[in-house]
């Protein structure tokens, strides 16, 4: 339950921060997840990944639904022929990876500092 709350809080934070900060602010959110929400390396990576993956995939999914897939199908072709439906997930993976590494850094910071 606690983990679910952490992930939801991280999603909301990443969603808010993106309006003021550059795209890699998701690493900072991951970092905070690592510092305050992780209990071991594996779970830091998992929570960090999941938070940002969900944050980006849900947003992109919502956007592409509203857009009726117009841009996603074109961008899919541009990026080497991926079906438009995959794009939110590909983006989620990229964001998630950054979030996971941020969380891992946060977890190691916590191990060192506290």
């Amino acid at each position: 339950m606690q983990r679910v709350i952490i992930v939801i809080a991280a999603i909301l934070l990443a969603f808010l921060l993106q309006w003021w900060l550059p795209w890699w602010s998701v690493a900072l959110v991951g970092f905070l997840v690592g510092v305050f929400g992780a209990t071991n390396t594996k779970n830091a990576l998992l929570l960090g990944f999941l938070s940002i993956f969900l944050c980006w995939t849900i947003q992109a999914g919502w956007i592409t639904m509203q857009n009726e897939g117009v841009l996603a199908s074109r961008m899919g072709i541009l990026l080497g022929g991926a079906p438009g439906l995959w794009l939110p997930f590909i983006g989620g993976m990229i964001g998630g990876l950054v979030g996971a590494l941020g969380a891992w850094s946060g977890w190691l910071f916590r191990k060192w500092a506290f």
Binding site: Q18, W19, P22, W23, W24, V26, A27, W56, Q59, A60, I63, T64, Q66, N67, E68, V70, L71, A72, R74, M75, G76, I77, L78, L87, I90, G91, I94, G95, L97, V98, L101, G102, W104, S105, L108, F109, K111, W112, A113
Partner: protein
């Protein structure tokens, strides 16, 4: 012992990943900044417009406006601007056009001025260099000098610029048009000179083609007599724009004779400048009320240009206290270029007159800084061009030399004695007059009758256009309008000697003497890029003209009566061609069916039953065109196949067909590489058998037809296939009224019936939005491809209801 190193290591790995994902073209790969691009708030998703909220009302606060401006957007996202003054309307036109098309405006004007490399890097450096050497910036500067001398045009451009910049200034990086994100670049603010570059881009596209070098080479190879025989200047079957009934009731200026047309009779190996392809295919016409079912005049226009996404045109209505006009604009220019108001309609096709000549410069020194003119030494002026290149710290510098003729575009070490200077009308400083091109279009938008239309055109020089006109009062007219040099016979056909000023243009045709006609007895006026006049026009001119569309257009219009707007739409989409009509019987009679095998006979039969319509489902046009092309190449092989790659002029298609018909034993049909003596019949048989060998399989086994072979396509401006429309299955042929082929075709089809109210229809192969993430990016392409039209919603009052979905964009003053 707490260890800091794992933490530092993790931070380093994280930062490295971020750096990699934030790197444009990492390690030289074509990858964009993937992290930024996929971030929902920063990347491409920000350009995915929600389909459902397109028609939400919007409000903006903008500088400069004095009063509120209301814009009603209709169901195709056409803005209908209601402004308290014309400058405020133009401000809002700038804002809206930029918000929907800024990327295109930026790219087109960068392409004009040779500034692409700042965005696209090394790949366009050579292109930019050529644009600079062609003096495009110089031409735009000269244009601005004229514009700034007329307060109206100066203000119009300033307000238009301010509108564009009001849009640019409120952008944050996440709002940048998608293409900038892909290129890792930012839009830059607009300046009035960019609009001047846009006008010069039109001149480059429409009025820079010439055959001087190719013709000089062909004459050198063939000799004067054979050259004159193969390259006659006038097709006796031509149906010119101005009907024969028009008498030239004026005293023409007499051209000063040039020094010597033959002086530079040499072989030029220079690689030709990349010139725009001949986008011949534009049609316009107006029929008087005596020929229409409604008794009202109807005006039609379909300018043919390169097909692109975003489309070259942007539809708009502008309403101010002094005018109410609807039509298409060019993003980057204020006003409407082709359109109508409550009283008149107007449209354009290109005039093919050649206004670009090449002069051979005689250098006096090895460094090429001094040249000979009228037996005196002259020094060149040097202009240093700075080309900024993405990825380079300092700009690339190029020195361009200017002579009295113009810039030395060809500056080749290989030719020590001669280089070529470019004399181009579009470079010229315009002489002082009440107004220039920008106001010409504004005045057309305001015009109420023939006199006002005629006066509006006096401000317009380059690129010359056939301006067609119709009014509610019932007048129809057409004017071959622009600035034209007075030429002596043959002057400007070949490379000329640049050491004698007598070879230059001394005078220009007075505007009242340009070819024109008002209310001719035949009840219609028309143009299709053909010759302006019959040869009895008192002025000599050269250029590239179409020989077939004008003939079919005039033939059909002559035969039509009780015309409706639907008839006119059908005519714009008509794919019948006189090329097929003239060439097919020749092919059939000269290629006798007797010695053909079974497959060849099938193809022969195809031609025999053909109705000369280049429609998509037909197979015969594939055969007819291939046979004609192949026979053309076999006939003129000595011109086309040059071992040193030099460019040669080739005879026009009409001349080739006339040779086949009238002089089948002409020595040009003989192929020097064979022992026999070939004639027209032998060439056509050879071509037919060759074509049958190549095309039998695709046509009879694979099921290919004209639509799959001729097929049109519409490219994105960066040629990104993902943002383009490849393979459109459509009718059309270069020499038919519907001249769709490859990436060229009707870029805007318009039919206007002048009455109360005006009834107008239009469509273009694109959509109002230039954003690939918008539902309006290519919303009209399929409609266009199938010959459908939109009823244009020409509003008479601000509150008149719009059909379908709509919304209001309101611009408040700050």
């Amino acid at each position: 012992m707490r260890k800091i190193f794992p933490f530092i290591g993790a931070i380093l790995i994280t930062v490295s990943l971020i750096a990699l994902l934030d790197w444009h073209h990492p390690f030289g790969s074509p990858l964009p900044r993937l992290g930024m691009l996929f971030s929902p708030a920063h990347g491409f998703w920000a350009q995915a417009e929600p389909a459902a909220s397109v028609f939400k009302d919007k409000q903006w606060k903008v500088p400069r406006l004095i009063k509120t401006v209301q814009v009603r957007m209709d169901d195709r996202l056409v803005p209908h601007i209601y402004a308290p003054s014309t400058v405020e309307a133009v401000f809002v036109q700038g804002y809206i056009t930029a918000s929907l098309r800024f990327w295109q405006m930026d790219l087109a004007t960068r392409a004009a001025g040779g500034e692409l490399s700042e965005l696209l890097g090394e790949q366009t450096l050579e292109y930019d260099r050529i644009q600079r050497r062609k003096g495009m910036q110089w031409a735009a500067e000269n244009f601005m000098a004229a514009i700034n001398s007329n307060p109206e045009e100066k203000f119009l451009l300033e307000w238009y610029t301010a509108g564009i910049n009001a849009y640019i200034d409120q952008l944050s990086p996440r709002d940048y048009p998608l293409e900038y994100k892909l290129l890792n670049a930012a839009p830059r603010r607009w300046e009035p000179i960019r609009s001047a570059l846009m006008i010069k881009r039109m001149a480059e596209t429409l009025a820079s083609r010439n055959l001087d070098i190719q013709s000089t080479n062909a004459r050198h190879l063939l000799g004067n007599d054979l050259f004159a025989d193969l390259f006659p200047e006038y097709n006796p079957k031509q149906s010119p724009i101005i009907p024969e009934e028009v008498a030239w009731a004026f005293t023409p200026l007499t051209p000063a004779p040039p020094a010597d047309i033959q002086a530079i009779g040499q072989h030029w190996k220079q690689k030709l400048l990349p010139v725009p392809p001949p986008f011949l295919g534009s049609n316009n016409w107006a029929v008087s009320g005596s020929k229409t079912a409604s008794g009202r005049p109807i005006l039609c226009n379909d300018p043919h240009l390169e097909l692109s996404l975003p489309s070259i045109w942007f539809e708009i209505q502008i309403h101010t206290p002094e005018l109410n006009a609807y039509g298409v604009s060019i993003p980057g220019l204020p006003g409407i270029l082709i359109g109508f108001n409550e009283d008149i309609a107007w449209g354009e096709t290109n005039v093919g007159h050649d206004v670009l000549d090449w002069y051979a410069v005689k250098w006096l020194d090895k460094e090429k800084t001094r040249y000979l003119l009228d037996d005196e030494p002259r020094a060149v002026e040097q202009k240093i061009e700075k080309i900024r290149v993405a990825g380079r710290r300092s700009p690339v510098l190029d020195t361009v030399k200017y002579t009295v003729w113009g810039p030395i575009v060809y500056d080749e070490p290989a030719s020590p004695y001669y280089d070529l200077a470019m004399r181009w009308l579009a470079h010229d400083k315009q002489e002082k007059r009440p107004f220039y091109e920008i106001s010409s279009f504004l005045n057309l938008m305001r015009a109420k009758n023939y006199e006002e239309y005629s006066n509006a055109l006096t401000g317009y020089d380059v690129p010359a256009q056939n301006f067609v006109f119709a009014s509610r009062e019932g007048d129809i007219a057409i004017k071959v309008n622009g600035k034209f040099p007075v030429r002596a016979p043959q002057q400007g056909r070949f490379v000329q000697d640049g050491s004698s000023s007598a070879n230059g243009w001394q005078q220009f045709i007075p505007r009242e003497q340009v070819p024109q006609v008002k209310n001719p007895s035949r009840g219609f006026v028309s143009s299709a890029n053909q010759h302006s006049t019959s040869p009895d026009y008192p002025y000599y001119y050269i250029g590239e003209f179409d020989d077939y569309r004008g003939r079919i257009l005039n033939r059909l219009l002559d035969s039509m009566n009780q015309i409706t707007v639907q008839d006119m739409m059908k005519l714009q989409c008509n794919a019948y061609s006189i090329v097929g009509e003239e060439a097919t019987p020749l092919i059939l009679s000269l290629v006798q069916a007797g010695d053909l095998n079974a497959q060849e006979k099938e193809m022969y039969q195809l031609l025999k039953t053909w109705d000369f319509k280049y429609v998509k489902e037909a197979k015969a046009p594939v055969v007819a065109k291939a046979v004609l092309d192949t026979a053309f190449h076999l006939t003129f092989d000595e011109l086309i196949d040059q071992p040193d790659g030099a460019s040669m002029a080739v005879p026009e298609l009409w001349r080739f067909i006339a040779l086949l018909q009238d002089t089948p034993k002409h020595p040009i049909f003989d192929r020097p590489s064979t022992d026999q003596v070939e004639d027209a019949a032998a060439i056509l048989r050879m071509a037919f058998k060759k074509v049958a060998g190549v095309w039998y399989e695709p046509l009879f086994r694979k099921g290919d037809d004209w639509g799959t072979i001729n097929g049109a396509y519409i490219n994105h401006l960066l040629r990104l296939p993902a943002f383009s429309r490849p393979h459109l299955y459509v009718d059309g042929f270069a020499n038919a009224l519907n001249a769709t082929r490859g990436n060229s075709g009707p870029s805007w089809r318009m039919v206007v019936q002048l009455g109360t109210p005006v009834e107008a229809y239009g469509v273009y192969p694109g959509g109002q939005s230039g954003n690939p993430g918008s539902p309006f990016y290519e919303s009209m392409v399929d409609q266009w491809a199938t010959g459908q039209y939109n009823r244009l919603q020409f509003l008479q009052s601000p509150n008149q209801p719009l059909k379908g979905q709509s919304c209001t964009w309101t611009f408040h003053s700050l």
